[in-house]
């Protein structure tokens, strides 16, 4: 009988790695896994709504791994959502790469770098920001193509879209840390409110409060 009790106790303790991974993959899933189901559902709804509101405003180019790397890093913190959006914007750039004008602009850029003696930069064969930091012909052609397709991100829509989706990612990072720490401490369930009220009563009466939050 004791063996079964110990086995149950062991099984009920959440695995911190699983909690962390789930929390990253699906916002709120980490909290759901460790036993805080209502919080998990709230986090799932709010973080996903914020992220997809951003993508709804900005469109497919909201997650832009080529021109907005820092924002992409934040957006990928939402897990599957961020990866899904990253995949679609990457597909747009890969399709653009097949365009004749874009291909010609890439070759022009490579030739310019070869002539200026920067051979390593001349090997880049994909759409990427200009290494000099100033928009070149390739960047302008890509912007023009994206505009023709109706998916170019223009401010303030771009700022708002990346703000929403990036903030959603950073909020999920907070949730990941919380789920990880709670799982490591073995504190899966919701805090017991009775203990909180007992502690308050003890404090008002001047007695020593007993125990902590479960």
């Amino acid at each position: 009988m004791n063996k079964n009790k110990n086995k149950d106790k062991k099984q009920s303790r959440p695995i911190w790695l699983v909690a962390g991974l789930l929390a990253w993959l699906i916002p709120g899933a980490g909290h759901f896994y460790i036993g805080r189901r209502v919080r998990g559902i709230i986090l799932f709804i709010v973080i996903n709504t914020t992220f997809w509101t951003g993508v709804g405003i900005g469109g497919v180019m909201t997650v832009d791994s080529r021109y907005e790397r820092w924002w992409t890093a934040a957006q990928l913190l939402t897990g599957a959502d961020g990866v899904y959006c990253w995949y679609h914007q990457d597909k747009v750039y890969k399709d653009l790469r097949l365009d004749e004008d874009v291909d010609r602009a890439i070759e022009t850029r490579k030739e310019l770098f070869r002539r200026s003696g920067r051979a390593s930069l001349a090997n880049q064969n994909s759409i990427s920001p200009s290494p000099t930091g100033r928009p070149d012909e390739l960047q302008m052609i890509v912007d023009q193509k994206l505009q023709e397709m109706g998916i170019a991100l223009v401010d303030p829509a771009g700022e708002i879209a990346r703000g929403f989706s990036g903030v959603a990612g950073m909020l999920n990072l907070l949730c990941i840390f919380d789920a990880l720490i709670l799982a490591m401490m073995g504190k899966g369930s919701e805090p017991t409110l009775q203990i909180i009220s007992t502690r308050r009563d003890a404090e008002t009466s001047g007695e020593q409060p007993g125990g902590g939050i479960a």
Partner: protein, 73 residues
């Protein structure tokens, strides 16, 4: 229409841009309070209160920065 909603970008006028900070602040406060709070029944009130503090502070910061740029720049 749903397919284009998450594909094409929206056209938002500059005047309307500032209003988007309200739902963003609400999302931040709800997530923060959900993670920190002990009693979930107090979540709505505490989230709204925190959102109010956040918006007031952002407004104050905006006023201060505007004054700085008006005086010194």
């Amino acid at each position: 229409m749903i397919a284009t909603l998450f594909y094409n970008s929206a056209q938002i006028p500059w005047r309307a841009a500032m209003w988007f900070v309200i739902p963003l602040c609400l999302a931040v406060t709800i997530v923060y309070k959900t993670v920190r709070i002990d009693d979930l029944r107090k979540l709505p009130i505490q989230s709204v209160m925190l959102m109010g503090y956040l918006l007031i502070c952002l407004l104050a910061l905006g006023v201060v920065l505007w004054l700085i740029q008006a005086i010194f720049l």
